[in-house]
């Protein structure tokens, strides 16, 4: 049991949460990070969906890694990832219909999320299934974590709610005689990019070793 969570394996899983974070360090998967973070709920579901896809695709391709003909390597990866994404999409449509409507095309676009192909190429094809699973989960959570942080600020400042619950009282709003207005810019994808930039700034000033030396 201790071998399963050896220092090396723990590192594989925890590194993507901070110094190897796919979104704020490797800057992968930005497209969907901007698109689905207007509210917390779709951001959480998207994070979990991507985690499921990275984890399973890593394990499956790690199991297949010694059988795959090199020439069709990428095609095999795509087939496996596409199948997993379709299964996730179908499950969401059956069991979380409202959320699947909000995520709309972005579930299908998980397949083009660079994090997934990146982790398969860089990790799963060269490692055993167990570390690959940890790597997949770690990267999925690292991605989801950033989505949730961005969505937290966008939903709070853009809609005055969190996870659909009202945080800023209705009576504060101008239309009800108060002095408050939601920040409309927060709802637009551009603001998500600015927020991601701010997170990268904070993260880098706390981890000086990430800063490039010119």
């Amino acid at each position: 049991m201790s071998a399963l969570f050896s220092a090396k394996n723990r590192e594989v899983m925890l590194n993507p949460l901070s110094k190897g974070n796919p979104v704020i360090v490797l800057v992968l998967g930005i497209c969907s990070a901007l698109a689905v973070t207007a509210k917390l709920e779709p951001a959480i579901v998207m994070g979990l969906s991507v985690t499921a896809v990275t984890a399973f695709s890593n394990v499956i391709l790690s199991l297949l890694r010694n059988t795959i003909p090199t020439r069709i390597r990428i095609i095999v990866q795509l087939v496996v990832v596409a199948a997993l994404v379709i299964i996730v999409d179908q499950l969401l449509k059956a069991y979380a219909y409202e959320v699947s409507k909000q995520l709309s095309v972005y579930v299908g676009l998980i397949i083009t999320n660079c994090i997934i192909m990146g982790r398969i190429e860089a990790f799963a094809l060269a490692n055993k299934p167990w570390p690959s699973l940890l790597d997949g989960i770690g990267n999925g959570l690292g991605y989801g974590m950033i989505l949730v942080i961005v969505a937290f600020f966008r939903e709070l400042l853009g809609s005055g709610t969190l996870y659909g619950f009202r945080i800023i009282p209705e009576s504060w709003y101008m239309q009800n005689g108060g002095y408050y207005l939601n920040n409309g810019l927060m709802i637009m994808p551009a603001m998500a990019l600015i927020l991601v930039g701010l997170i990268i700034w904070v993260h880098r000033s706390r981890n000086k070793d990430l800063i490039e030396k010119n």
């Binding site: 207007a38 059988t67 795959i68 003909p69 090199t70 020439r71 069709i72 095609i75 095999v76 087939v79 496996v80 199948a83 379709i86 299964i87 179908q90 499950l91 449509k93 059956a94 069991y95 219909y97 709309s104 409309g184 709802i187 637009m188």
Partner: protein, 228 residues
């Protein structure tokens, strides 16, 4: 066997694709009933929303049966044709020529008064917009509306789904004398007439889309609306 050879590569891809295809078919077939139910519940919720009845996915079927007393399909001449109104796919019908179109009508009873619910469908700025409009039994006064959209701009055009926008349509009149005028969506807070509502600032094209969609569909239903 040579793992880089043509035969191996060919067999490998064939087996992989067959296995994946079988797996996906099983998943799709086993989840289909649930997905259809979700879509139908959504439709029921949308129709109920046009008569100011809020429902959840769980109780929509019961509430739908409670409020909707009758449903039928008419053609462009206002004659009844056979079929079940609930099963009509508005998006598909929209592509047909008007003469062949099936136009569903839902008759609801709210607090003892008869309401007619008609579907509407049209184009917004980025994609289709659709909804339902309910009329009082004089077939002139609007009782309620429901709008939805595929991808209008959040905060601007997408505001057509808000209660604030929908509430404006209540008690407006779609006829001026004997002439069908629909509901005009007016810019700049100048809506004063009995058939006018305020547009959404920044969402002019979507607002105009709503106006056109209502006008078009009411025109299709005009023979039915004039049967008093």
């Amino acid at each position: 066997m040579n793992k880089q050879g043509n035969t191996y590569t060919f067999l490998y891809s064939v087996i992989l694709v067959v296995v994946v295809a079988a797996l996906l078919s099983i998943v799709s077939l086993s989840l289909q009933p649930r997905q259809n139910e979700n879509r139908q519940n959504e439709k029921r919720q949308n129709i109920l929303s046009a008569i100011h009845v809020s429902s959840t996915a769980a109780n929509s079927a019961d509430l739908f049966d409670k409020y909707i007393k009758e449903q039928f399909i008419i053609n462009a001449k206002g004659e009844k044709v056979s079929g079940k109104a609930f099963d009509v796919n508005i998006e598909q019908q929209y592509k047909k020529p008007l003469a062949e179109r099936e136009l569903p009508v839902f008759v609801a009873e709210v607090d003892g008064a008869t309401k007619y619910i008609l579907p509407i469908y049209g184009a917004g700025l980025w994609g289709p917009i659709w909804g339902y409009i309910s009329l009082d039994d004089n077939k002139d006064t609007v009782f309620g509306t429901f709008f939805d959209h595929q991808g209008e701009t959040p905060g601007l055009g997408a505001e057509i789904v808000t209660p604030h926008f929908n509430e404006q349509f209540r008690n407006k009149q779609i006829f001026s004398g004997n002439k069908l005028v629909g509901i005009q969506v007016i810019k700049g807070g100048n809506a004063t007439g009995p058939s006018e509502v305020d547009a959404i600032s920044g969402g002019t094209i979507t607002s105009k889309g709503v106006e056109n969609m209502i006008k078009n569909y009411l025109t299709y239903y005009e023979p039915f609306l004039k049967q008093r």
